[in-house]
């Protein structure tokens, strides 16, 4: 099924159709992205008459102004803190729970696991008002932790499932042998399970990171102070302030999605793996 096309004649209409189709979709995807990147290099006047083409005069200043502003770095810093907190707490709590579900037999194990799995079905928006009140009552409103803790809670279901499936593949005989030799469960977890599980930990970590990095609703509800805003909130504020100065807004957008794209290029293997692993499970 795979080599049929490469050996076919150059004017095969099927190949022609396929190429044309792929080209149209590629243009559909690329044009908005390129227009955003290039728009940041134009002046507002040029943007209006020449939104598609290359800039006639490259306005590096648009990008430079943002890169040298404290505001940009503060947004990235806030996002980085919240995402790192979320990933760290998710990996710790989820891997411990997943290990227990994978290797410790106890009464109620499967019931507790299904309880946690239900989390996959719950719409976060339902919980958001009560969450606001709970986080306020805990005194965590307007703190990084007030955003991170609910994000951890909502990422647990998927994370535990992915990790547990991987942990289960570590042979039980290995654990048994270790226990006979005087190793404890906890030591086994720390010195055998975790080191063996680096790929899946990276996958779960990357996916949690991307979700947290891009999140909007929870930070919107939990944070009131501009100085604490992660970038999705900050960029909305920025857009509000510079309402029709699109050249600056486009430069700002480009610079805020750049870290996401770099992360994606570095970790695409993990992102795609996690996506499809999660998918097979349902």
């Amino acid at each position: 099924m795979s080599n049929a096309d490469t050996t076919s004649a150059p004017f095969d209409p099927a190949v022609l159709f396929k190429t044309a189709f792929l080209a149209v979709v590629a243009i559909f995807v690329l044009v908005p992205l390129l227009a955003t990147l290039l728009g940041g290099f134009k002046s507002l006047g040029e943007l209006r008459v020449n939104p598609f083409g290359l800039p006639t005069h490259w306005e590096w200043q648009n990008y430079a102004d943002i890169l040298f502003s404290a505001r940009y770095w503060q947004l990235l810093r806030n996002s980085l803190i919240i995402s790192t907190l979320t990933v760290t707490l998710t990996l710790i709590t989820a891997s411990m729970a997943a290990f227990t579900f994978a290797h410790v037999r106890f009464y109620g194990s499967s019931m507790l696991l299904s309880y946690l799995t239900l989390g996959l079905l719950f719409p976060a928006a339902t919980a958001v008002l009560p969450l606001f009140i709970k986080v306020r009552d805990l005194g965590l409103l307007d703190t990084y932790l007030g955003v991170a803790l609910p994000q951890v809670a909502f990422s647990l279901a998927m994370s535990v499932l992915l990790l547990r499936r991987f942990f289960k593949d570590i042979p039980y005989e290995l654990l048994e042998a270790a226990l006979v030799d005087g190793c404890s469960y906890i030591k086994f977890f720390r010195y055998v399970t975790l080191p063996l599980s680096r790929p899946i930990l990276a996958t779960v970590g990357t996916i949690t990171f991307v979700n947290s990095w891009n999140a909007y609703l929870l930070p919107l509800v939990m944070l009131n102070t501009d100085a604490l805003y992660p970038w999705p909130l900050g960029i909305m504020v920025y857009q509000g302030e510079y309402s029709s100065e699109w050249h600056l807004i486009l430069a700002f957008i480009t610079l805020t999605i750049l870290p996401t794209i770099i992360l994606f290029l570095l970790a695409q293997k993990h992102i795609v793996a996690g996506l499809t692993a999660g998918a097979v499970k349902g």
Binding site: V25, F132, K134, I249
Partner: protein
């Protein structure tokens, strides 16, 4: 056996008893230590920040309450009545239906077609996969802002295409007739790559000998596709449909930078309706009622779908 662990518990509580456990070999107290140390953090966080709030939403939805102090003004099911009497809610529900329809009728077939093309090896296939997947990685907020530029009536790409034809450019996002359509296009742009990747992964793990056997038996390429490949993809298709619908019901982040649900509520989704009415005005009871309705729709759908279509998985 399991019960014994729970009863004979106190031995393992200390947690730093590794040497003792070591001398006894695999025993129940080692297990108990793990149980009381490893499970509670996840279960507590999940219960406190996911399960309880959903229960509380049901409770708060019975009150007329602005979120300050404690809820005292019990009004029973009135909030639900108020929600269901609001025209904007039905508009939002209709919009979610439209999103589901576009996802199923346009997005998934597009994703499947592309996956069939890109699962084969040829120069540029991997690059195209990455390109098509890229929008999915971008934040919804960034995507929304990019497209509010694309649609901008003065500076946007659409406007300039209009002007080359000598016409007065439309403000797509500012008109009740076109705002939702504009949002739907962005949804396809952003999410088709995700489904394409699901299909590609499925195609790559597919047993190719079945396809080859069909070809040897004289099936044409399209026959093999229709009668062998697509049926083998059914589990993934069902899953993709599931994700598409659940995602469509909860769409929010993308709508905010584009239209905030407007103009005149014409592009609200259930969640942006919840946000605009419940959260920004802190009408906790009213907003919770919307949340509970959303919850019931999502969970009913999920269970029904799993039961009917995904029984064997």
């Amino acid at each position: 056996m399991a019960r014994r662990i729970a009863i004979a518990s106190p031995m393992g509580v200390a947690g730093e008893t590794a040497p003792q456990v070591a001398s006894r070999g695999p025993s129940w107290d080692g297990r108990f230590t793990v149980l009381i140390l490893f499970l509670p953090p996840a279960l507590l966080l999940f219960t406190l920040f996911v399960v309880l709030p959903i229960g509380e939403a049901a409770w708060y939805s019975g009150f007329n309450w602005n979120g300050f102090g404690r809820p005292t003004h019990w009004i029973g099911f009135d909030n639900y009545r108020f929600v269901l009497e609001t025209r904007a809610f039905w508009l939002a529900l209709r919009n979610n239906g439209l999103i589901v329809a576009v996802s199923l009728a346009i997005q998934l077939p597009l994703a499947l077609t592309l996956a069939l093309m890109l699962a084969e090896k040829f120069r540029g296939a991997v690059a195209l996969r990455m390109l098509f997947f890229m929008p999915y990685i971008l934040a919804e907020i960034a995507t929304g802002l990019i497209f509010s530029f694309v649609y901008d009536g003065d500076y946007g790409l659409v406007a300039s295409i209009w002007r080359t034809f000598g016409a007065e450019p439309p403000h797509l996002l500012a008109s009740t007739d076109t705002a939702m359509l504009a949002v739907l296009i962005v949804i396809v742009w952003k999410y088709f790559g995700f489904h394409m990747m699901l299909f590609i992964a499925a195609l790559q793990s597919l047993d190719k000998s079945l396809v080859e056997a069909a070809r040897i038996d004289g099936a044409t390429r399209s026959q093999a596709l229709r009668h062998v490949v697509i049926p083998l993809l059914y589990p993934t298709i069902r899953l993709s449909v599931f994700f598409a619908i659940v995602g469509s019901l909860q769409l929010f982040d993308l709508v905010m930078p584009l239209t905030r649900g407007g103009p005149a509520d014409s592009s609200n989704t259930m969640v942006s309706f919840l946000y605009n009415n419940g959260i920004s005005r802190m009408r906790v009871g009213y907003g919770s009622a919307i949340g509970v309705i959303l919850f019931v729709i999502c969970v009913t759908f999920a269970f029904t779908y799993k039961r009917w279509f995904m029984r064997d998985e």
